[in-house]
Amino acid sequence: MNRIEEKLKQLKKENKKALILYLTAGYPSLAATEKLVPELERAGADIIELGVPFSDPVADGVTIQRTSAAALASGTNLTKIFRTVSRIRKKSRVPIILMGYYNPILSYGLDRFVADCKKKEVDGIICADLPPDEAQELLRLTRKAEIGLIFLLAPTSTPERIKLVTKASCPFIYYVSVTGVTGVRKSLPKDIRAKITQIRRYTKKPVCLGFGVSNASQAKEVLPFVDGVIVGSALLDCIEKAGRNYLDAAKKFTASLAAVTPHPSLSPTGRG
């Protein structure tokens, strides 16, 4: 079984929600990424998304634009990210998802990319600008390699889209909580619960929510309806602000989020 799937199943059994953290690979440096991943796992992260930086990140807000540009400026690319994942694997078995945009992957070569994901023990792929309609080849390759290919749903998604995405997405569905780009928000939209309920009508797969979740109280607000939360920009902001103390700051921030993930589920099977 795929490590992400395994993790989500295990958490469900423990009546916990998944804490998924996003880091831009190569920010503030690849050496930092290598240190951060095992430490964040220890602090309570269940799954790590490593952002593959791209020059034109249209789905990202200012924080990830900035961290991506910095990572690119210091020479981060897929080859080096895979090397970093190899090093991380010596210390940690945490499920790792590579998240990015299509062109760097396409340029690397889809076959080679999936083969290297397999070889370096990357467990999943998220491609922000690749809807399932355009992903036939990557779907075929990832399925064969038993690597997750996770697709996104949004508040604007129609029943037709929900049907398509829930079918293609594996092992979980990434629900984008806001109509907008990644980044910290003061408050989350009110329609989240209704939309997640709608999505659940089409699938039994776990649904994790990202975009805009920036602290424990916001996570707590949405956790009853979802199987996990994804936090990125707020973590990166925290790392950026902390400067040289980034590791401690990131651990503390992770722990604050991890404290709310054993959230009683509203589903009838939950113990809450």
Partner: protein
């Protein structure tokens, strides 16, 4: 004419598609559907034709440029898009799409602009149709194109300087896409060239095809035969695809001229078809300028309208199936052509269009004895400051 929309989800051969965040997929489907229904309605067509004729000034002349023909040793016709209201072909597309947005019930229109031509044409169309309008423009461009910024503001548009990335056209598109993702329910994204995610390449081509349709009628009337060759400049590729498309099934050669900037070997150019390789940018799979890691490179051209690292997917298709030939000329060659047309015909061409003429001058032997139509896509008034600046350097 619209079969591109039904066939293969907006693919031209292997190029095109819809590579966008999921949030935008329903919005693009909505535009596609509106274009298929409203865009085909009698009411829409009647209103658009009225605007094109009585507001924008269509049809534009097809002018036999005798003086320059004598120098070239072949017969050159200029399709005078420079005579349109706003001074360039861009308004063919903005009137069409703004009218579509209006009839879809959208209240706000956003657009990207490089030098400001598409921004001005969008602002004009939105002023006319009483639509709220926001234009994204790279901060670098805002500073170097002050008069166009003022034009847009005069027409009631909000100009939003983009400070991310390279602060030029490609970043303006990124920021417009981010705005669209955020305000997708009320907002129409009026894309300026025949690129971007499906259905934009098809919609923009169709609205620009009026250039080729008129040219075809006009040349048949004047010469009783079709031309041998069509020539147009290619940035994103909207004026060229508009000229070419109605001649697609004819025995007429197509030549697209890209910007070689300071020379292809300098790396400072905008020749996506000539020196790029296929990839995905701004929602479409097409030729583009990128480094070995798939990061997008910054384009360069003296003509701001050609200064884009990508190109419309239909051009990539025509390159691969060899329906069209794509060539490039340098900034220097374009500037020389800019002067020549001004001197001998009294027509000051846009720097973009000057690229087409520069290729004809450079390769005139190739066309000996032929009849050629060149799209004079815009007038050069907007470029005077830039030309003065470049030539004083």
């Amino acid at each position: 004419m619209r079969k591109g929309l039904r066939k293969n989800k907006g693919y031209f051969g292997k190029f095109g598609g819809r590579f966008v965040p999921e949030t935008l997929v329903p919005a693009l489907s909505e535009v596609e559907e509106a274009y298929r229904t409203i865009g085909r309605s009698r009411e829409f067509k009647a209103r658009l034709n009225d605007l094109l004729a009585n507001y924008a000034g269509r049809p534009t002349p097809l002018y036999h440029a005798q003086n320059i023909s004598n120098r070239l040793n072949f017969k050159l016709y200029l399709k005078r898009e420079d005579l349109l209201h706003s001074g360039a072909h861009k308004i063919n597309n903005t009137l069409g799409q703004a009218l579509l947005a209006k009839m879809m019930g959208k209240t706000r229109v956003i657009a990207e602009t490089g030098a400001g031509q598409h921004g001005v044409a969008t602002a004009i169309a939105c002023a006319l149709l009483n639509l709220k309008c926001a234009i994204f423009m790279g901060k670098v461009d805002v500073e170097r194109q002050k008069s166009n910024v003022y034009r847009m503001r005069l027409c009631g548009a909000e100009v939003i300087p983009v400070e991310s990335g390279s602060q030029t056209l490609k970043d303006a598109i990124n920021e417009a896409l981010r705005d669209w993702v955020t305000n997708v329910r009320s907002t129409y994204y009026l894309f300026g060239t025949a690129a971007g995610p499906h259905p934009f390449p098809t919609i923009v081509r169709d609205f620009q095809s009026v250039i080729g349709q008129e040219s075809r009628k006009q040349i048949l009337k004047a010469e009783k035969r079709l031309p041998d060759t069509l020539v147009a400049c290619v940035g994103g590729g909207s004026n060229s695809i508009g000229l070419f498309y109605p001649f697609l099934r004819d025995k007429v050669k197509f030549i697209g001229v890209e910007a070689a900037g300071m020379g292809i070997s300098s790396g400072k150019h905008a020749a996506a078809l000539g020196a790029g390789r296929p990839g995905v940018l701004h929602g479409t799979y097409s030729y583009l300028l990128q480094d070995k890691d798939g990061q997008i490179k910054i384009a360069h051209s003296v003509a701001a309208g050609l200064d884009y690292p990508g190109v419309g997917p239909e051009h990539s298709f025509y390159k691969e199936n060899r329906r069209a030939k794509y060539v490039s000329v340098t900034d220097k060659e374009a500037l020389a052509a800019f002067h020549l047309l001004s001197e001998v015909e009294g027509i000051i061409p846009a720097l973009e269009s000057s690229h087409s003429l520069a290729y004809l001058l450079k390769s005139k032997k190739e066309f000996a004895g032929q009849m050629v139509i060149m799209c004079l896509s815009g007038r050069g008034d907007k470029d005077l400051e830039e030309v003065l600046r470049v030539e004083n350097e």
